[in-house]
Amino acid sequence: MERIPILQMGEFLLVTIQVDMHDQLALRLQDDLTDRIEHTSARGVLIDISALDMVDSFIGRMIATISGLSRIMDAETVLVGMQPAVAITLVELGLTLPGVSTALNVDRGMHLLRKRVGRP
């Protein structure tokens, strides 16, 4: 079964989405991530979408759901690497991803996550 890999880096989980996702794959990632948060007691999730050349309402909703679920499970989510054209399109589509933290790149995202969970 096709899956998006989830890497563990200490107390954080790292997801890099590099394929053009169909809806089931996006839903599977959502389920896999919540499982992994539970099993690893991760404190943060970093989702890198720099390779995604499109985010539609379905993927946008998945990102918002992951962010909400992880918060309930005591983990922070940071979304990084959104391409400018994707950001412009998302806003025009009507999706502003309220409650989802974002950072420009992986470096800044990790920095934000560490700050959030109180690690210098």
């Binding site: 053009d20 169909h22 309402s57 909703r61 399109t89 589509l93 009507g94």
Partner: protein, 134 residues
């Protein structure tokens, strides 16, 4: 209006939504569409193709590369023979959904393109035509 190229491809299952996006990206990119406009068009296609699969029970996407008054455009038609839409006004309201989505599919897609035409009635299926000019 001149049709430079045209074709059709099925939009029946979820993977077809991905294929519809990929074909649109190629068509738009071959016409020299700017990245932001291309991204908007591909996103609109994703929303409409998903509607065709989920609400229309599957259908087809017809595509055309057209020329009119010295400009080039990509035109796509999503056709299905599903239940159709009873209340078009409601369906074109932001945030309204008959399913489990966000209710941004149709309205969002309309905002992302230059031309948008919806033709539907209960029992007659749904046809959505979108055009993005370069």
């Amino acid at each position: 209006m001149t049709i430079r190229e045209h074709g059709s491809q099925p939009v029946r299952i979820e993977q077809d939504v991905v294929l519809a996006r990929q074909l649109t990206r190629k068509l738009a990119s071959d016409c020299g569409m700017r990245l932001v406009d291309l991204t908007k068009l591909v996103t609109a296609v994703s929303e409409l193709a998903r509607n065709t699969v989920v609400y229309g029970g599957g259908g087809d996407m017809d595509w055309e590369v057209i020329e009119e008054a010295g400009r080039t455009g990509v035109r796509l038609v999503f056709r299905d023979e599903g239940p159709g839409i009873a209340d078009i006004k409601l369906a074109l309201t932001d945030g309204w959904t008959s399913g489990s989505g966000l209710g941004l599919g149709l309205t969002g897609a309309r905002r992302l393109v230059d031309e948008f035409e919806l033709d539907t009635a209960p029992g007659r299926g749904t046809r959505v035509m979108i055009t993005r000019w370069i």
